[in-house]
Structures are given as C-alpha cells and as structure tokens.
Symmetry: C2
Subunit: 171 residues, 2 copies
DNA sequence: AAGAACTTTCAAAAAGAAGTGAAAGTTAAT
DNA sequence: ATTAACTTTCACTTCTTTTTGAAAGTTCTT
C-alpha cells in the first residue's frame, strides 16, 4: 500500500460528501444525493436508522429523501423476512442510474418549457418586436422538441446499446 | 386574431417568467435566466438601464448577471458608435446556445466528479466493504469518462452536423 | 488633469431552501 | 382490539443563496 493511498473510511467520507455537492449543482438536494451515495457504496441494505446515524440527519429528513429516491427509481425497498423494519438498497447499474436521472431531469427541465412554449406560440404579429418574438419561440420549439424525443429514445434504449453504440457513435 | 390568441406583452412576460423558472431548475439563477430571456426576444441591443427597468432589478444585480452571461458566451457586448454606454445582445442561434450550456454544465456537473473519483480510486482493499466501494468507484469512473468525452465531441460538433446527424441518429 | 458617464464591488438585508423533532398516523403481530 | 414498531407530517429554525444600493473604480472627452 502506497503512502498516497487513501484509506476506506476517508474514501467513503469523501465520496459521500462529493456526491452531495455534485447533487446540488445537479439540482438534486444535497442530502438526497448523500443518502444515495451512502446506499450506493454499502454492500448490503440499510434501514432508516442506519442512514440517520451515518449522515447525522433527522428522521424526517431521512424519510423524505429516501422517499424521493424511491420515486426517482434510484432506490428500492427491501423487506427482510421476520423484520418489521424496511431496508433500502440502491440501484447499482450505472446505466440504470443515468436513465433515472435523464427521465427526471427531462420531466423537470424540459417538459415545463415545452408546455409554456406551446401556450406562447399563439402570439402573432407584424411589428419587428413580435416577429423577433415569434422567431425565437419557434426556434426553441423546434429545438426542444427534438431534444425531447432524443432523450425519450435515449432513456428507453438498453444498457448494451448505450455502451456500444451511443458512446462511440460520435467516434 | 382568435379569442385565445395571446397578445405580445403577455407572451413576453410569460416567456421571461418561465425561462427564469426553468433556469432555476437548470441550476442557473433565476435572474440570469430572465436577463437572457429578455435579450433573446429583443430585436435590438439593450443597455444595463433597459434591463434594470424591464426586470425591476438593481444595478448591481443586473451587472453581475450580464457579466455571467457574457462569461458563459450567451451574450455579447455591443458598442454603438458615438455612445459611451455598453449595449448587450444575446446569441440567438439555438445550437450555439445549447453548446454554451453543455460546456458550462459539463464544467460544473461532471468535471468536479471526475476529479474526486480520481483521488478516491487509490483506495484498495479486500473486505466486502472496500470491494463494493472500489467497484462502484470504478463503474462511475468508466461511465463518467465516456460521458465526458461524448459531451466534449458534442460541444465541438457544428450546428449542421448536430441537426442532421445527431438528432436523427437514434432514429 | 478634471469632470462626466458608466461599470464594478461588497457588506448588509431579504428571500428561499432545507433540516429538525415532536406529534400524529400506519400497520403487523399477538 | 391493543400495542409496539415504524413511517409521515408539519410548524418552526437554521443555513444558503440572491438582491440591494451606496461607494469606489474606470475610462472617455475636453
């Protein structure tokens, strides 16, 4: 083992911490991302209590964020026979994780825009101002519809295809 | 003109407002996105004063956000002959706009992760915990390097290629 | 080099987002 | 039906981010 090697505990801390920071810049809240990180690197399922202790967060907070992760499809409930408690495991396949995130971000970032743009497309006019306006709206509409359907297909594509075709496609 | 047609003023307001909301969920601050929206739909260059008035924001705020938009490459300074004042115009080509955003988001969302993952890769071990940890870190590394180079190429691709090839590629 | 016309900075204030924890709600076993 | 083991909710607090505006800094013009 090299002197520069990082030990497991420090590595874990750093990972959870960074996944959290990352999360915020991804529009995911810090704690949600940290819970996800914790579950990702845990070899077995954890219960709410474990998570609260590890991350030093309250019950309510833990619960909220676990719930959100389940909604997103990034985490599953796991019931152990004979135990009342609920345990949680993270989805560990990178492509599935990416897929979940693509779907959620599309929902939050793209779809609302498409709706507004549709509403707004009924503006029409002949002055320079309205012409500029309509042109911009039109361009956004065309562009974002394309992006929308591309992301749609991408999120439905399977992992294998993704790895082999998409990633290399752009050569 | 239909009864349901939206008039220009309302359309503009709605557009600026929504682009702003959108911005927040994109990790771009609301005001920055609104300034961008305003410039996007304006047929000619606006000065700081115009922007302050239109959006009802302070001088400092306007200045900061214009500056950030310029840094991102979404807005250009325009100097009118004979005028001291600086005017600003938005980049209006959708593909150029997308490109700027891809570059910035990659910088903020992906690159920091790659750095941390690199640091962390020096952990090694033999217990189940460290094995799980190393596996996850490895998977993330592989995946995010691929994503990184794909985005890189994408951001260097030109508009024409983008429109014709990429968008339809996934058929 | 003095003045006018703008632009930038920054510390303090306001707004907004996230976290807490105790109380209320559920559910499974007896 | 009761209880015990969990989960969820929500009014309140704490932390973060954004905005303000006045003061300081620039840079053209004469």
């Amino acid at each position: 083992m090299n002197a520069e090697d990082m030990n497991l505990e420090d590595g874990k801390k750093k990972f959870i911490q960074s996944w959290g920071t990352m999360g915020s810049s991804w529009g995911i809240n810090r704690t949600m991302a940290q819970v996800h990180a914790l579950l990702l690197i845990s070899p077995d399922a954890l219960c709410a209590e474990d998570i609260m202790e590890d991350l030093k967060i309250s019950r309510g907070n833990a619960n909220m964020n676990i719930r959100k992760l389940i909604d997103w499809g990034l985490v599953y409930k796991e019931l152990k026979p004979g135990e009342r408690k609920e345990f949680f495991v993270a989805e560990k396949d990178m492509w599935d994780i990416a897929r979940c995130i693509i779907i959620q971000r599309k929902k939050r970032e793209l779809e609302p825009m498409l709706r507004v743009i549709d509403e707004i497309s009924s503006v029409e006019g002949t002055c320079p101002e309205s012409e500029e306006f309509c042109k911009v709206v039109k361009d956004i509409k065309v562009f974002s519809s394309k992006a929308d359907s591309t992301l749609d297909r991408l999120s439905k594509a399977d992992a294998k295809w993704f790895a082999s075709t998409f990633m290399n496609m752009i050569k």
